[in-house]
């Protein structure tokens, strides 16, 4: 039955809950596009035949193929759009630099889209708050204090804070650091916010 491959694409996305991004199913998309091409060509020839020879009994088949084309188109559009929404969320959760594992799951065009989105976001952030701009990816939760206690969950190497001090982030070490410096690392799971 037509359009089964297209629905399979959607199902694959749906099964990966929680906004995870599966690998880009290039093969699947290609198959759906080939099916669409075949349907379209059959319809073209049928339409010509119906027009020139007046065979209006072809019309139901033409309508059928047309419905399948529309269905395939809708499924592909939903697949691509949903992936873009997930990729957009990655910018807010991971920051500007994505881990390689995730980058492998994106196709070239999606990577390009991600870069453009980063640029738009950066331009926008620079335009806020006067001269220095405003980082709106910070302070996602209401801050209660300037400095926070953090514990290192894994080795992350050296870390420089604003006054020039260099801190060595070794696993299980605890530090008292400025909140705005740590937020990104906490989100990425490198540090852990300790509340006494």
């Amino acid at each position: 039955m037509f359009c089964e491959k297209a629905v399979e694409l959607i199902r694959e996305l749906h099964q990966m809950g929680d906004g995870q991004l599966p690998a880009f199913n290039e093969d699947g998309i290609r198959q759906v596009l080939e099916e669409m091409k075949a349907l379209y060509e059959q319809n073209q020839s049928d339409v010509n035949e119906a027009k020139t020879e007046g065979k209006s009994e072809l019309i139901p088949s033409i309508k059928f193929r047309h419905s399948c084309l529309l269905r395939n188109q809708r499924c592909i559009a939903a697949y691509l759009y949903d992936r873009l929404l997930r990729i957009r969320a990655l910018r807010w959760e991971y920051g500007s630099v994505l881990p390689t594992a995730i980058r492998f799951h994106m196709c070239a065009e999606e990577m390009e889209w991600f870069n453009q989105y980063k640029k738009s976001l950066a331009t926008y952030m620079r335009s806020l708050g006067g001269e220095e701009g405003l980082d709106i990816t910070q302070d996602m939760k209401p801050p209660k204090s300037l400095y926070i206690q953090v514990r290192c969950l894994k080795d992350h190497g050296e870390f420089e804070i604003d006054d020039g001090t260099v801190i060595l982030l070794k696993k299980n070490s605890q530090h008292f650091l400025p909140r705005w410096k740590c937020e990104q690392l906490i989100r990425q799971g490198v540090l852990e916010h300790v509340i006494s």
Binding site: I10, G19, P60, F64, S67, A89, E93, A101, P142, P143
Partner: protein, 201 residues
């Protein structure tokens, strides 16, 4: 989840019984054509064929004036069940009666059944009747197993329940003074968990 909401593409192909009738001119895809893999054969189809068809296809082929297709309503939208919903909508197991009761019901109105006003009204009243229970239970079930509460809800009601729970949990976090507690992103945690299971596999 603010990051994704796939546009409503029903995942389970929604099949319903449709009766095919011919126009005066002749050929209609016969049963085999529609299920067929490749070329649509031009064979005079038979009038009055009954077959199952996905909803999107039925919508595409349906034509009000020419009466190419006529629809048999799924039984949950028919008179018998409508009376049940009228009596007491809360007791019905909407998950069993087709998990997309509201969605599919709205789509069925597309086929110009003479019962459309009654169907539409029943769907609306059912939702109104059940909503209060869904809302209350989602706002009062904190940190407990909710499977008994959601098992008889249809998909729309389940997403409402989930939204209610999410609001409740955020509020409780705030009450405990944990709303300023910075945490790792759930996305990051899940990616790491998947990497571990992939490595172990």
């Amino acid at each position: 989840m603010w990051w994704h909401r796939c546009s409503f593409v029903p995942l389970r192909p929604v099949y319903a019984e449709f009766e095919l009738s011919l126009t005066a001119m002749g050929a209609k895809p016969s049963g085999r054509d529609v299920q067929g893999q490749s070329v649509c054969q031009r064979r005079p189809g038979s009038q009055g064929t009954k077959m199952e068809m996905p909803l999107w296809l039925a919508k595409g082929l349906y034509e009000r004036k020419r009466r190419v297709l006529s629809v048999e309503l799924p039984k949950v939208y028919r008179e018998g069940w409508r009376t049940v919903f009228g009596a007491d909508p809360i007791v019905v197991d909407l998950h069993k009666m087709g998990p997309y009761y509201y969605g599919l019901g709205s789509q069925m109105l597309h086929f110009d059944s003479p019962e459309n006003p009654e169907i539409a009204n029943t769907i609306l009243q059912t939702f109104i009747g059940r909503f209060r229970r869904t809302m209350d239970s989602s706002q009062n079930a904190y940190n407990e197993d909710t499977s008994a509460l959601v098992e008889r809800l249809d998909c729309l009601e389940r997403s409402l329940f989930k939204a209610g729970q999410s609001g409740l949990n955020s509020f409780q976090l705030w009450e405990k003074g944990r709303s300023s507690h910075l945490t790792a992103s759930s996305l990051v945690i899940n990616y790491r968990k998947r990497k571990m299971t992939d490595l172990q596999a």
